[in-house]
């Protein structure tokens, strides 16, 4: 007997069992029977437009009255009826007993017809098309196109190389009108970038707002899912053939989501950045910042070590000697670390400071230590409902997290509720299920109030909290109704004034506790702040309040650790202004960008400022010793994202000119202070980390392409 929610069918004679409501296309995919496709895309709604996925279908004949299958009197087998026309596999629901044929003469001919139609007006300019080599139309034409073309009429003449906004160039002639791009913009991005105008053979893509928009958040993804070369990126256009790129798996350095990337290097430059599919993190998407913001890898780089003075560029040993001299010449040294530096670099930086210099002054340029780690993954949040976003502007700060939540939201599965100050995050508020303005600075009061109300709801408390937060009482009431009905709500708080993190941390924990009561599935949430590798840096001990392996600074000193004063240092800017520092080690970033004149003056007064960095910027300007570092595309590195997922990025290029991998630079400084022996490779650093610290074992193992969860 067929079970209630499964159906069994055959595809080319092979039996397939799928949940009811499954379309034939994914059912065929599940048994590796490939049905050609253009408009079909597993991540988009079903459309049925291109018609290339035609299949022949037979269904069992059933008795109208009883619903029972009718048997052939002679054979005793069920009778089948062929559906009158070929069916599109992408739109057809699988049904019990259905027989699908994907390779009959009829099907082959139907596909040929469709390809022939698509090619009729196609310019066939593959030799000068960016998509050549990775084009689905080329591929389908080879697999199932007609042997010849009968079309001899003049082809439609349409726009070529037209800017349609968001750094995307359209070649209308190549477009096969599959609507993948516009469906993505509607169903995932909720962005008005471009859309179809006119109809029939005149179908054209036009900027949605009349004029092309300069920047979008997610539109670049349309380039990847466009099956042909109709959409190309202004950055990559004509810069290389896809097969010339040395593709390596990378990780995006731009935010704490840490999207998986494919880095396409060519002749020492980073030619293209594309998303790499990672089910847990970014699915198949990245944001436009991740895609396009890599010009700095090529431009205005520091290409050799330098020492301030007339003849700046020097040999590596000279620069390193000078740096060691500065760092070991005083015990009033602080390290300032950018949250986008790798785990390897972070580990060696803390080793240099703690074991080499005996200092605990490790300052990471983020608010992570104040906020504490976030509990929950992208998946956890996707399967939570509602997701409460309190002054958390994830649309701007963790864009892909928002994108994935928004898709769930569009499907009616996850509600997003945004609460924050009046002029803050207008787009996220507009696109939320529901949104409310909060009186500035009242986040903690709101979280505390919600906790109180979740535990015990009454009008008096409600009115008090409404007055306290500036949110209308009936809005709060409906939010509480929603929370009460929810199977699994989640709470995400964003950036706060510094002094608010402590109370906020406590209040959020209490609210999560209150919501957890009576619910089986763990309620997720926390304060979501920090940069690319903020979480990884804490795990490797690169912070004044964390020791390698995720231990706190209160824990006893181990045998091979140097005993030192682990008290928390004064914030480095205050210390610098108070003339309490003699030297600074800056690792990555540009902490002096937008600095006050006083701070810059104070930095000039230091006996030395060692800068380990990639580009000419305000910090490099102040540095006495500049140690030229490789970019993220040129060195092996690991990051841990906000969820606690460890990923590895493999370089696509060698370090340019005389730059060296960042971890190697730190390693050589350690070596000079006797804290490193032997070769300095990324693998050697990872092995050392794992060998010395139990909590860092995962770094010793090989890390899968989807990354590994190392903290939760």
């Amino acid at each position: 007997m067929p079970s209630n929610n499964m159906v069994t069918l055959t595809i080319d004679g092979q039996e397939v069992k799928v949940p009811k409501g499954t379309k034939v296309m994914p059912a065929a995919d599940s048994v590796d029977i490939y049905i050609p496709r253009f408009c079909y895309h597993g991540s988009l709604s079903v459309l049925g437009a291109c018609r290339i996925c035609l299949v022949q279908v037979f269904t069992p004949v059933t008795d109208r009255n009883t619903g029972e299958p009718v048997m052939d009197e002679q054979t005793g087998e069920p009778q089948y009826r062929e559906m009158p026309t070929l069916q599109t596999a992408c739109t057809l629901d699988c049904s019990e007993g259905m027989r699908v044929v994907t390779d009959s003469e009829k099907v082959i001919k139907g596909r040929e017809n469709v390809i022939e139609f698509i090619l009729a007006n196609h310019p066939l300019d593959c030799p000068i098309c960016d998509k050549g080599g990775e084009c689905e139309l080329q591929e389908m034409t080879m697999i199932c196109g007609p042997p010849r073309q009968l079309f001899t009429e003049p082809r439609l003449d349409q726009d070529k190389a037209r800017r349609i906004g968001a750094s995307i160039v359209l070649d209308q002639e190549r477009c096969i009108v599959c609507f993948r791009c516009t469906r993505f913009l509607d169903e995932w991005a909720s962005e008005q970038v471009f859309e179809f105008h006119e109809r029939g053979g005149h179908d054209v893509i036009e900027p949605a707002l009349g004029e092309p928009i300069e920047k979008a958040r997610f539109a670049g993804n349309t380039i990847d899912i466009c099956p042909v070369g109709a959409l190309t990126s202004e950055y990559f256009r004509f810069s290389a053939r896809p097969w010339e790129l040395a593709d390596t798996p990378g990780v995006c350095p731009h935010c704490a989501v840490g999207c998986s990337l494919t880095l396409g290097g060519r002749l020492g430059t980073l030619a293209r950045v594309e998303p790499r599919s990672n089910y847990y993190i970014n699915d198949i998407w990245i944001c436009d910042k991740g895609r396009y913001d890599y010009e700095w890898v090529q431009e205005d780089r520091i290409v050799a070590p330098e020492i301030a003075g007339e003849n700046r560029a020097v040999d590596w040993p000279v620069a390193l000697d000078e740096a060691v001299k500065v760092l070991s010449g005083s015990d009033r040294v602080a390290a300032v670390v950018d949250p986008a530096v790798s785990c390897e670099t972070g580990y060696l930086t803390q080793a240099l400071m703690r074991d080499g210099l005996g200092l605990n002054a490790l300052h990471v340029e983020d608010e992570f230590d104040l906020a504490g780690p976030f509990s929950g993954t992208v998946m956890d949040l996707m399967y939570s409902d509602p997701v409460l976003l309190i002054s958390a502007n994830i649309l701007d700060d963790q864009p892909i997290l928002w994108l994935r939540l928004n898709r769930r939201h569009q499907e009616g599965k996850t509600n997003m509720i945004t609460i924050g100050p009046a002029d803050w995050a207008p787009d996220q508020k507009r696109l939320a299920t529901d949104a409310a303005d909060l009186t500035a600075g009242r986040e903690v009061a709101l979280v505390q109030g919600l906790c109180e109300l979740v535990r015990e709801r009454n009008d008096e408390t409600m009115d008090r909290i409404a007055a306290d937060t500036g949110i209308a009482a009936d809005w709060l009431g409906s939010l509480l109704d929603r929370l009460a009905d929810a199977k699994r709500p989640a709470v995400v708080v964003g950036r706060l004034p510094e002094d608010q993190y402590g109370p906020a941390r406590e209040a959020v924990a209490k609210l999560i506790d209150a919501l957890q009561e009576d619910r089986k599935m763990p309620i997720r949430g926390g304060i979501l702040v920090g940069g690319t590798n903020s979480r990884g840096l804490r795990l490797v001990g690169c912070s004044a309040s964390a020791l390698p392996g995720g231990r706190s600074t209160d824990e006893p000193v181990t045998e091979d650790e140097r005993d030192l004063d682990r008290s928390q240092p004064k914030p480095w800017r205050e210390a610098l202004l108070a003339s309490e520092l003699e030297a600074l080690l800056v690792v990555g970033g540009d902490p002096f960008a937008d600095a006050s004149p006083e701070l810059i003056e104070a930095a000039r007064g230091l006996s030395g400022l060692i800068y380990v960095g990639t580009n000419h910027n305000a910090t490099a300007e102040l540095a006495t010793v500049t140690l030229a570092a490789a970019s993220f595309a040129e060195e092996s590195l690991t990051y841990v994202n906000f969820e606690g997922r460890l990923q590895q990025s493999v370089p696509t290029n060698d370090p340019i000119e005389r730059t060296r991998p960042t971890f190697e630079i730190l390693g050589r400084l350690c070596a000079a202070l006797g804290q490193w022996q032997g070769e300095i490779t990324a693998d050697a650093v990872r092995t050392e980390m794992g060998r010395r610290f139990e909590g860092l074992r995962p770094w010793m193992e090989s890390i899968g392409e989807q990354g590994e969860a190392v903290a939760s």
Partner: protein, 447 residues
């Protein structure tokens, strides 16, 4: 020979005004529906009448209404398809110009039957005369308490909104129409879900043609039995002993009257309401026969999407089944009589130009196939084609047939293949002699 049911009163001065319509018993059906019948009884009556959609597909109206779950919570809609765009069809326009309140009354009854509190009339934008009149009808009805809250004092609130289309044929397709109403680019939607489950704004929606709805008030007033007393109802369906025979409104069942639009070089082309089942030759006679001694050569019996039929079928009874058996369909009830001085290749080109122009562009075979086949037909008409091009035309039509997303694309081969089959010599002559055997036909080309 005519029997005025839908068009009853169309010849009365001022019948399009509320007062005259009511003087002649207008809105009594609505009163009966509100006061004497339950919504289920109304739907049942329409179902058992065997009324079938007049928009083209001929689907049972009562069955369509039954698909709507009346008791499900939330908004439901009725949408009047007044987009009338099928070439040759102009009966909805006549109905709206002459008996607009009957359509409106039918719409209100439909709303009550399916539990809708809002109706949209989606009117073809070009019908500017209808626009003002229909708006006036809605306003009059609202003022008289027939539209608005507590209609006729009953527990029934309804609002009616007139919406103008912007001149795309595809907007007549019910789901594309809904997209258009929602302010989107009009393209047919995937079915299922059908509009009755998820239609306008995702809510249960009934979409009915103007003529279909204008049939509803007399059915409610006089009953299903009365409705079936004319036309060509299937004898097996017994409306009195409900439930004993095969379902009404399906298969051969063709009860009631039909408002035909006749065109061509006729003595008296126009609108004729006749019982279904009369021979097509009678309709020709009603329309004044062929003009100027012209001879009838072929007929498009149901709007441009219906394949042409030839002399073998000129007296076909005008029912759903008989036309299907003749290889065509009753469609929108537009009967285009084509005379022997009209070039059929040119006629096919003319209709293909229409489809090319109106293809919404969603699916490949319709979008690309219509352009390609039009170009080849153009060459044939221009005398620049060879015999191979006839095979090419069939090849392209083959590539279109059975592979399109909606009926628009599926209609492209209809006039081409049917005339090729009916008059192969006429086609061959074009490619062999490089000219038309008749001289150019004078059907105006689209655009």
């Amino acid at each position: 020979m005519q029997e005025f049911r839908v068009l009853k009163g169309h010849d009365i001065e001022g019948y399009s005004s509320l007062s005259v319509y009511r003087e002649h018993g207008g809105y009594e059906a609505l009163r009966k529906a509100l006061e004497d019948m339950t919504p289920t009884e109304i739907t049942d009556e329409v179902y058992w009448s065997g009324l079938r959609g007049r928009g083209g597909a001929g689907f049972s109206t009562g069955q369509k209404w039954r698909f709507v779950d009346r008791d499900a919570p939330g908004q439901k809609y009725v949408v009047v398809n007044a987009d009338e765009g099928e070439p040759g069809t102009f009966k909805d326009r006549y109905i709206m110009e002459h008996v607009p309140h009957r359509m409106l009354e039918g719409t209100l009854i439909a709303c009550h039957a399916v539990g809708a509190t809002k109706a949209y009339i989606y009117l073809r934008g070009e019908l500017s005369a209808c626009r003002d009149l229909i708006q006036q009808c809605i306003d009059e009805a609202r003022e008289a308490g027939l539209v608005g809250e507590k209609v006729m004092g009953a527990d029934f609130d309804v609002d009616v909104v007139l919406h103008l289309g912007a001149g795309a044929y595809i907007c007549g397709e019910e789901t594309a129409l809904l997209d258009s109403l929602e302010g989107r680019r009009a393209e047919p939607r995937l079915k299922p879900p059908f509009p009755a489950q998820a239609g306008l704004y995702g809510r249960p929606t009934v979409v009915n043609n103007v003529e279909t709805l204008a049939n509803v008030p007399p059915i409610v007033e006089h009953g299903a039995g009365w409705y079936r007393s004319v036309g060509a109802p299937s004898p097996a369906v017994d409306a009195e002993e409900r439930g004993s025979g095969p379902p009404p409104g399906f298969g051969p069942d063709s009860p009631g009257t039909r408002v035909f639009s006749t065109s061509g070089k006729l003595g008296n082309p126009g609108i004729y309401e006749v019982p279904m089942g009369i021979p097509m030759s009678d309709l020709l006679e009603l329309s004044g026969g062929m003009r100027d001694g012209l001879k009838l050569k072929a007929v498009i019996p149901g709007g441009s999407s219906a394949p042409m039929i030839g002399p073998d079928h000129f007296d076909v009874p005008l029912t759903f089944q008989d036309l299907a058996d003749a290889g065509s369909m009753l469609g929108s009830g537009a009967v285009i009589f084509i005379d022997d001085q009209t070039c059929l290749v040119d006629a096919a080109l003319n209709l293909t130009e229409f489809y090319e122009h109106e293809s919404c562009g969603k699916c490949t075979p319709c979008r690309e196939g219509s352009q390609w086949v039009r170009k080849v037909l153009q060459r044939i008409c221009d005398g620049e084609a060879t015999a191979k091009d006839l095979d090419l035309v069939r090849h392209i039509c083959d590539g279109i047939a059975g592979k399109c997303f909606c009926a628009l694309g599926e209609s492209i081969p209809a006039p081409i293949i049917s005339t090729m089959d009916l008059y192969p010599d006429e086609w061959r002559y074009h490619v062999e002699h490089g000219e038309c055997p008749i001289g150019k036909g004078d059907l105006a080309h689209a655009e």
